[in-house]
Amino acid sequence: MTTREIFETMDYGPAPESDTEARAWIAGKGPAFGAFIDGVFAKPGETFATRNPATGAELARITQSSTEDVDKAVAAARRAFPGWSKLSGHQRARHLYALARLLQKHARLFAVLETLDNGKPIREARDIDVPLAQRHFYYHAGLAQLLDDEMPDHAPLGVCGQVIPWNFPLLMLSWKIAPALAAGNTVVLKPAEYTSLTALLFADICREAGLPKGVVNIVTGDGRTGEALTTHPDVNKVAFTGSTEVGRRIRQATAGSGKSLTLELGGKSPYIVFDDADIDSAIEGLVDAIWFNQGQVCCAGSRLLVQEGIAADFHARLKARMDKLRLGDPLDKSIDVGAVVDPVQHATITRLVDRNTEGETYRAATPVPEQGCFYPPTLITGLSPAAPLMQEEIFGPVLVSTTFRTPSEAVEIANNTRYGLAATVWTENLNLALDVAPRLAAGVVWVNATNLFDAAAPFGGVRESGFGREGGWEGLLAYLEPALKTKPLKPVDPVPAPDTPDAPGLDRTAKMYVGGKQARPDGGYSQPVWSAKGRLLGHMGLGTRKDIRNAVEAARGAAGWARTTGHLRAQILYYIGENLSARSAEFAARIRDLTGVNAKTADAEVDVAIDRLFTYAAWADKFDGTAKSVPIRGIALAMTEPVGVIGALAPDDAPLLGALSLIAPAIAMGNRIVLVPSYAAPLAATDLYQVLDTSDLPGGVVNIVTGDPADLAEPLAGHMDVDAIWAFTPHVGAEAVEKASASNLKRSWVHDGRGIDWMGKSGEGRRFLQAATEVKTIWVPYGE
């Protein structure tokens, strides 16, 4: 067009970013790429094509790394680990700083390569992905620098196997590698097979940064490579970001392996607009929520909830905004929506949308390129929560919408999902925002904003969106373990019935404790409990899966406990301590009877139990959240919230203290707990319910189900209304517990064949509090 014609039409015209340098890099280092192992690029093996989704053209060939390649990479990481972990924090900080600087120096090359490989608009790669990746390395250089002083008594885990998705290839690499390296671990990372190129460029700059060989290894390939890595026996930590489906498989495959695991999975995040919101800004926010990266964002605000009174106006304005979105060549600087990553993904989006028969589907009236993987921005209004598209993750530029009447209903609809990654709330009413945000089942909540990220602010999900946090000190914890004194865990079996039983006069029957009431076992069976010397101490009900069901239901019903104040919970914990103290002689005698320990040991256990109750009473109002220093005008609050319902299998040793060491931190943080006490010595725990009853603890907060842990562990670990499982009983293997926990991807904390010294300091403290809480990051930008 001539200048004169443009003067009339006022079109934007093309504004392409050059890909010359990126293509030169591919040609120079490739075009066939081998894995990056032990500081060198291996010779390409069997390769597959990586394509530009905007054109379908082949960009390079990538090696399908074999099991042997993975072995070599893990071995290299293992060899590098002692040297790397022994560096001072400062020395590691220097390396991370160098990586940050190099990411900055090669910023445009990374951005263009990312856009070529992934199809995202160059604006996003250039202005969001790459700057956030740099920021992540700068921030973690700082964490490495401070680590020695701030987190003494912590050690790195070892070799980390990390598997990342294709939607933010470089950024997810940074989220994985920066904290792992800062904490002193070494890494084998597998990028997604669609998008390996920026990981390979990163490998290239690791060499420029002078990173020791083997500290970072990149193995390319598809799910087979990922499986070889995540199940590798010499990998200590698995970190995965990707689909819930694959996350669940990884949970099952790593069950009982002792590998530390963090999962960042899918979502169907609610985007709630109240009628007093700044509507135009809320609509603009949706552009960043669901049309950012073609909607291929795990935390995409993909479920729009609009207050009924403004819905018609809101949808009309939203459609007008959608029509303004520009689709096309992702390298064009004036493009809003690029190409979805692969024809496979395009087909999935198409299938999900086409299958829907409800509501009204609106496609943006904007030109869609005929060639390449482009899907138009789409809005589906008038869906009910029951519609499949309101429940299933689409992972594309498709927004689904429904309405609500009241704040409570908004929360109810928002939480009516298996996922719990992120949520967005728009209102100009501070009271409303700060009331709703904590009630949303999500790891991240944005108030009057969306998709804000920063290295200092923890990110991660609850429910089937996974567990673990990335970013901040909280994220670093996922790559460290406390140096603890442990001892081999040996099961203590119930004392067998003696030949000549000594049955005392009056029967005292221990029942289960469910919902604040004593309950008989549903199955109607009991088992005698004998003292070490053969005296009948009483009976324990033999619990079944139905007792577990009843207990979990009671625990779920006691949701009010989560909303009580820390002060109140502290009062009740002190009170439990006080009442236990009043009956300490009785409990000590019980312990002696059950376990055969001497008086001194039994007295000591009761004393420590009282001490422990005081510890958590003290913590109840002191395990504070933090305000993160994020680079916006606003605050990012990392609030600690109770996990919900915790299932706990108590250890055998220290039958009273072991149980209380789990109960106390759980309830101090506002959780409800279903506890299976020591199999050998259950009466120490069942005696407790009389103490609890007299201590003003609401019914359902603590529930005790006795029986054989081998029978009870799986129903409890597999129960989908239980949010975390703690297993310290030696009677059940970690594998069974963790496999069962995959049902709803609950957090698990299981013994690794070693037992905690409950009498010592390792039996209490922050580790327990962290297990009893979720970190929710609430972003509140402000300014008038």
Binding site: M10, G13, R123, Y782
Partner: protein, 334 residues
């Protein structure tokens, strides 16, 4: 909104620019419920404004065409105490020929002029005379510009005088105190009276956004002025410490969009003060195109209040024509 204001069509002379004219904004009854409902979330507006320059860009021929268009949108302005008839005549000559003819030829562009010339009342006659035959309108700042604190009847009289002197456009200043005290009725009444005094002349309402405290106030004041019949809403006098900004502009153009949605009437927008770079002008134009559409890239609905912007655009255009970066002395001064 269901208010349907009566529309008054006006006919203007047809200059060489592709002028298209809309029905004038006759205003509507003050709708205080609507005013009270208006929200403006500052952080969100700032984020949108900050990302806009990264979302849209024009290159090469497109950039040249857009910059030429930008010139036609400029209210070439002098508002200085030392203005003289000679100075104003020079400015008018520049408005007639804002770009060297050889550059326009090289770029394949027709002759263009600036959108208007903007002066104080005492210079109106001089400007009208200097622009005779050009179809370039003369805009007069008025109503006790810039503070707007002279006696009300004198402010109204000043409008009448300027119109009498030949001003086709009147840039009035609102009483900021009405906004700051939430006295929307007073703002509405004042604006309505100014509008009436303007008669056939178009009225631009200067909100002096730098003195309104909050974007919420900017949004509400924009709306009230449109309800009272403003043809344009304008950010600033150029004399406040903060003048046109992208967040303020986004707030005001969203108000324009809402007003159009409710009434069908298109109101013009004029950012003024602080826009001195060609690149900034392009961002503002992209903002108009994105938020309101191409229709707001014509001088009857969009103006830049600027004095030094033209010089930067001229240099950029020469760069387009020659491929070499230009120097300011190569372009005739005002």
């Amino acid at each position: 909104m269901t208010h349907a204001p009566t529309q008054t069509a006006t006919t203007l002379t047809d200059p060489q620019l592709p002028q298209v004219h809309e029905p004038r904004n006759a205003g509507m009854p003050l709708d205080l419920d609507w005013v009270a409902r208006v929200q403006a979330n500052t952080s969100a507006i700032e984020r949108r404004a900050a990302s806009l320059p990264g979302r849209r860009t024009v290159k090469k021929t497109y950039q040249a065409a857009w910059l030429a268009k930008a010139i036609t949108l400029i209210d070439l302005t002098t508002l200085a105490g030392d203005d003289t008839p000679g100075r104003v005549r020079r400015l008018c000559a520049k408005a007639r020929q804002p770009v060297r003819a050889d550059l326009l030829d090289a770029l394949g562009l027709p002759p263009i002029t600036t959108g208007a010339v903007c002066v104080y009342h005492d210079m109106v006659e001089t400007a009208v005379e200097a622009l005779q035959g050009s179809d370039i309108p003369v805009a007069a700042v008025s109503t006790g510009f810039p503070a707007g604190l002279s006696p009300f009847h004198l402010r109204v009289a000043e409008i009448t005088e300027s119109v009498k002197a030949g001003a086709a456009e009147i840039d009035i200043v609102i009483s900021r105190r009405h906004v700051l005290t939430g006295n929307w009725q007073a703002l509405y009444d004042e604006m309505k009276e100014f509008r009436a005094a303007c008669g056939e002349a178009h009225v631009k309402a200067i909100l002096a956004t730098g003195e309104l405290g909050t974007l919420r106030n900017v949004a509400r004041a924009s709306l009230v002025c449109m309800m009272a019949g403003a043809d344009f809403i304008k950010t600033s006098t150029g004399k406040e410490s903060v003048n046109a900004t992208l967040p303020v502009s986004l707030t005001m153009v969203r108000a324009i969009r809402a007003y159009e949605a409710a009434t069908g009437i298109k109101v013009g927008y004029k950012p003024a003060g602080g826009i001195s770079k060609a690149k900034d002008a392009l961002v503002y134009m992209a903002l108009m195109k994105e938020e309101l559409g191409n229709r707001w890239l014509q001088p009857d609905l969009f103006r830049f209040g600027a004095s030094s912007l033209l010089g930067d655009i001229e240099r950029q255009l020469e760069h387009h024509a020659t491929g070499a970066y230009s120097a300011s002395y190569r372009h005739p001064m005002a």
